[in-house]
């Protein structure tokens, strides 16, 4: 997870984050990735030893969501970020 995080540069804009992927080619960027509060929480907790299950626990504590929703949200988030990284590399 941490490796994925190192492939982006982020900036805080208001309460949100803007993500820009490192890229080795000229990409036709339609729009860059922005993150709301939940996305930002997931992003900030992506560490080397973090697992989806541990992250789901943290998300449940922070946002009062059930386990099924938390895991679904995290997987969707990781899928989107990975997809974005693949598009630009």
């Amino acid at each position: 997870m941490n490796k994925l995080k190192s492939q982006f540069v982020t900036r805080e804009v208001g309460n949100e984050l803007v993500l820009v992927p490192l890229s080795n080619n000229v990409s036709n960027m339609k729009e860059l990735f922005t993150m709301n509060e939940t996305g930002r929480f997931i992003w900030e907790n992506l560490t080397e030893k973090m697992t989806v299950d541990k992250l789901a626990e943290k998300l449940m504590q922070e946002f009062e969501v059930d386990e099924e929703t938390a895991i679904k949200d995290i997987k969707l988030f990781l899928e989107k970020v990975s997809q974005m990284k693949n598009e630009y590399s």
Partner: protein
């Protein structure tokens, strides 16, 4: 010879006489004493094996054409620039120091009147690397100034940048450029500048007050956007070589500040004169 482009001073020198494409001639600056922001040594002929063993960092190419490649070169960068007429043959190799302020451009030997150190796409590449080293960005956009406000129109190719800037021009506004602009900060204000094109045009600049992300639409519409959405959408149209985190950080900081002091709109428009008044009424 000094060029003054977007308030940057570019000093070019060579042992051999060299030529400039005609778009650069209006930007020649007579003030030779001005301290340059970047120095460019122009050399005729490319040494053999200059880039042997250098690590590739970035490639700019379309499906059937190379524009340029960037390599790690000692502590700085090196560029292999491809000829856009003959397709895929090398026209130049350029070397840039670590501080990004000292270039050496080797141009392939040819007829005397063909020694063009800033031959496209070398010129825009040099300008882009000036922006990453200063508080500035280069953006695919058209810009106009109506005497009161400077407006920038950006969007995908074919979405109407030239059309909308021509409509403003016909209404009496000054056209800064309809394709590519450099934006810089001067004091607390942002300004937009034209850059040399393939045709001669005088240097122009104007304050930048509003940014419109445009598209053709069945009726005129405009909606103000802000925050992360505005930053991400404006940044998407900036020219970027995002292989280096420092460059991205520089762009993000600049666009973040730009969007905090200028108004950003998503604007759909019909291609007729009505859009000029519509924008004035709805900003």
């Amino acid at each position: 010879m000094n060029l003054k482009i977007a308030d940057f001073t570019i000093k070019l020198f060579s042992e051999k006489p060299f030529q400039m494409e005609e778009g650069y001639l209006p930007f020649v600056d007579g003030d030779e004493a001005c301290a340059p922001d970047v120095s460019v040594e122009c050399v005729s002929g490319i040494p053999d094996n200059l880039l042997d063993g250098c690590k590739s960092l970035f490639e700019a190419r379309s499906e059937d054409q190379w524009f340029y490649s960037v390599y790690e070169y000692h502590a700085g960068l090196a560029f292999r620039i491809f000829n856009q007429q003959t397709k895929n043959s090398v026209q130049q190799i350029a070397v840039l120091n670590e501080a990004l302020d000292d270039w050496k451009i080797y141009t392939v030997s040819g007829p005397e009147n063909d020694f063009l150190p800033l031959k496209y796409p070398m010129g825009p590449i040099l300008l882009y690397y000036l922006t990453v080293n200063h508080e500035a960005i280069m953006i695919h956009a058209s810009g106009v100034f109506d005497g009161e406000k400077g407006r920038l129109f950006t969007g995908f190719s074919g979405f109407g940048k030239t059309t909308i800037s021509n409509l403003w021009k016909e209404s009496g506004a000054k056209l800064i450029n309809d394709d590519r602009l450099i934006i810089r900060k001067r004091g607390n204000k942002f300004f937009m500048f034209n850059t040399p094109m393939y045709y001669p045009a005088l240097p122009e600049e104007a304050p930048l007050d509003t940014i419109h992300l445009i598209r053709h639409a069945p009726e005129n519409t405009t909606k103000k956007i802000s925050g992360a959405l505005a930053v991400s959408k404006v940044l998407a149209f900036c020219i970027q070589n995002n292989f280096d985190k420092r460059f991205i950080e520089n762009h993000l900081d600049f666009v973040n500040e730009l969007c905090s002091v200028t108004s950003v709109y998503e604007t759909g428009f019909l291609p007729d004169a009505g859009i000029v008044q519509y924008v004035k009424d709805h900003e």
